[in-house]
């Protein structure tokens, strides 16, 4: 096919549930490509000799390579090609901020729509899994080395998979009763079905990775006691400490952190209460504070739990919102109401300690701040109140302090993050590596995986040669 012909094909749409209907269920929103649309989309790719898209992917997937295989109808081959560098394509194809990573760099983005790399990635991963064609790769002969991984989020899972392939004996310790980190407790079912995460973990189990759940490092065992038994340790404990605003009334009943709200709904399946035992407040007027993915997920969860009004309250403008455009778009379609340039200054409760109103203040944009975004400045006399019965605070998370606090000699930064070498993940302690949100602060799935890959390679070198890389 000629390049000209390829460039005439429009970017293929991915069918999705009707916005009205999906606001009432927890099923996944998009349905994914059919074989025909996938091939059609694959035909758009120019298979560039020097593909700029690859530079945008933190794990450098051979993007034209896997897309060519799709074009030729070899979906399984395409899935395996991706898995050479990315062990979780079904996850990344769904939640990666593609529009800022691989797709923004696609040559076609200069003139029109980029190739839908994420959608294609998700398509082949789903195809392979649904066809039951997921193959456990050949594991290298045993090295006799023992590796401990703390935390089963994307960073930990990547380290575990990579090191197991190289023949190491790998054990993952997870504090919660389910593995997957934010993928199971944070990101909702309608965006990332939990069966997919489970399948990925099962794949690692089949490879021989051992998982120990209900095991809080820093409590039942410390990093030092682990080191007496294992040759190296990877810390992938995430940014699991919820931040609050520190305004009056934040401890009223009905005020949640996004972590609690989403954990109740996702991990504990409170949306299926009383079939599942964990309760959640099903508010009628729910306000979510924040403008990131976490805020969108919370507002859309509130809607699905039966809210009449689900608001996003964000202190800057739509342009500064850190959430993925696609998620903001989905939220708007579903009827989430945006109060932008608005900041809560107090929560007001009734005599039984239940939140009833939020006192807000309008903001205007001033000079850019450290983040390069324009700083919100309060407008005097602009206070107004929004009646609510549930509030979800989604203004961010900072690193979980449990492990740093119980590991002497482990250097941490100003925000409590573990300090680790960017190329190797090595921390200030011998044999102790770290990566993902615990190092960078709340970031993305693919960056956590990228950090995991680099750390795994350095750990391999370290345990095999005693070499610190």
């Amino acid at each position: 096919m000629e390049a000209k012909e390829r460039m005439q094909i429009p970017r293929q749409k991915m069918p999705e549930q009707d916005p009205k209907a999906r606001g009432k269920n927890f099923d996944e929103v998009p349905f994914g490509y059919s074989e025909e649309t996938a091939i059609r989309e694959a035909q758009r790719c120019l298979k560039c000799k020097k593909p700029s898209c690859v530079a945008g992917c933190p794990v450098e997937i051979d993007i034209p390579g896997f897309i060519s295989l799709i074009e030729g109808g070899d979906f399984i081959g395409a899935a395996r090609k991706i898995k050479e560098t990315n062990a979780l394509p079904a996850v990344c194809g769904r939640v990666c901020p593609q529009e800022e990573q691989c797709e923004v760099k696609c040559i076609l983005a200069k003139k029109g729509d980029p190739v839908a790399i994420g959608r294609l990635e998700r398509f082949v991963a789903d195809y392979e899994r649904n066809a039951g064609k997921v193959q456990v790769p050949k594991i290298a002969v045993s090295t006799g080395k023992k590796i401990a991984v703390v935390g089963s989020g994307p960073a930990g899972l990547t380290v575990a998979g990579t090191l197991r392939l190289l023949g190491h004996d790998v054990t993952v310790f997870e504090a919660l009763h389910k593995t997957g980190g934010v993928l199971v407790y944070g990101i909702p079912e309608f965006r990332l079905p939990k069966a997919i995460v489970e399948a990925e973990v099962n794949y690692l189990k089949e490879m021989g990775v051992k998982f120990v759940t209900n095991y809080v490092i820093g409590k039942i065992r410390t990093v030092d006691t682990i080191l007496s038994e294992y040759d190296a340790v990877f810390l992938g404990t995430g940014a699991g400490l919820p931040l609050f605003l520190g305004v009056p009334g934040e401890n009223l009943n009905g005020v949640y952190s996004a972590n609690e709200y989403l954990t109740r709904s996702n991990l504990m399946k409170a949306y299926l209460f009383p079939k599942y035992d964990t309760p959640i407040v099903r508010g009628k007027n729910v306000a979510v504070i924040g403008g990131g993915n976490v805020a969108m997920d919370s507002a859309r969860t509130a809607l699905r739990l039966g809210a009449d009004n689900s608001y996003i309250i964000y202190r800057r403008s739509l342009d500064e919102m850190p959430a993925r455009k696609e998620e903001v778009h989905h939220a708007e379609e579903e009827g989430i109401q945006f109060h932008i340039l608005t900041n809560p200054v107090a929560f007001i409760g009734d005599e039984n300690n239940w939140v009833r109103e939020i006192e807000c203040q309008k903001q205007e944009l001033g000079e850019p701040d450290d983040s390069g975004r324009r700083r919100p400045v309060p407008v005097k006399g602009s206070e107004f109140r929004i009646p609510v019965d549930t509030v979800v605070v989604a203004i961010g998370n900072s690193p979980n302090p449990l492990v740093p606090a119980t590991t002497p000699g482990l250097d941490t930064g100003r925000k409590g993050n573990i300090v680790a070498n960017e190329e190797t993940g090595l921390t200030s302690r011998d044999g102790v590596y770290a990566g993902g949100d615990i190092v960078t602060g709340a970031a993305t799935v693919i960056l956590a995986m990228g950090a995991g890959r680099k750390a795994a390679q350095a750990m391999h070198a370290y345990v095999m040669n005693g070499k610190k890389e």
Binding site: A175, L176, H177, Y185, T213, N214, Y215, V216, K219, I220, R221, G240, L241, P242, F244, E250, N251, N253, G254, Y256, S257, N259, E260, T263, R264, M268, K269, F273, P274, K275, Y276, D277, T278, P279, I280, V281, N352, N353, N400, P401, L402
Partner: protein, 278 residues
Amino acid sequence: MAKIVKKERLSADLVRMVLEAREIAETRKAGQFIVLRINEQGERIPLTIADADAKTGTVTIIFQEVGKSTRLLGSMGQGDDILDLAGPLGKPTHIENFGTAVCVGGGVGVAPMFPITEALKEAGNKVITIIGSRTKDLLILEDEMKAVSDRLLVMTDDGTYGQKGFVTQALEEIIKSGEKVDIVVAIGPVVMMRAVSEVTRPYKIPTVVSLNSIMVDATGMCGGCRVSVGGKSKFACVEGPEFDGHQVDFKELMMRQKTYMKQEHESLECFLNQALKK
């Protein structure tokens, strides 16, 4: 997975269970708790480690059947498995030789009080223990407590056993008798812990209470367990569960505990209906 090694009913709605949990038994300290999830549909509920045996690799919990989860747990028996068990969680009690320690346990709170009393005694304190319950049949661990205390006082609200009255009355009498009390540790219903803190406040006796706010993960990840202490928000599961009783906002705690009252009723009703059908 944790096997129930032994189950015993202490009173109409109080159950003692011994669970297989070797590593927890080896590492736990006084004041710490576990979180368990009975089955796939279950919620995560926190329960204090009332006792542990590192040799047999077991931990003991004592719980009151109040709602769906604790009733379901109470209906299980020896040999049954609990799907998930995590621990030890929370900060251990700060134990040292304070001098004279008064340990106050009310109702099912006597159970979490036991390991702390034992540890205070081992650290060389003179330990005066006050335990209380509404009525004689609900009193637990009297012999165990006696064994680790220099003096044991028993109170019942209705006077069916020991002295008639509240534990706070006994505490006040001890203080007024001129006994120099260096520390008070109180665990029981929130109203009791508040009352104990009010008794000791004028005397400036350091008072430690153990807060049972509603928890989910109990690893510091959700903030659902937050309590106000000295005007600051604290996560009870990782910064507690023990706090300075003179600083705790008990009123807020009591109201926050009622957050899911409606759902708890619904859940219990469903459970009882199903049990009836069977």
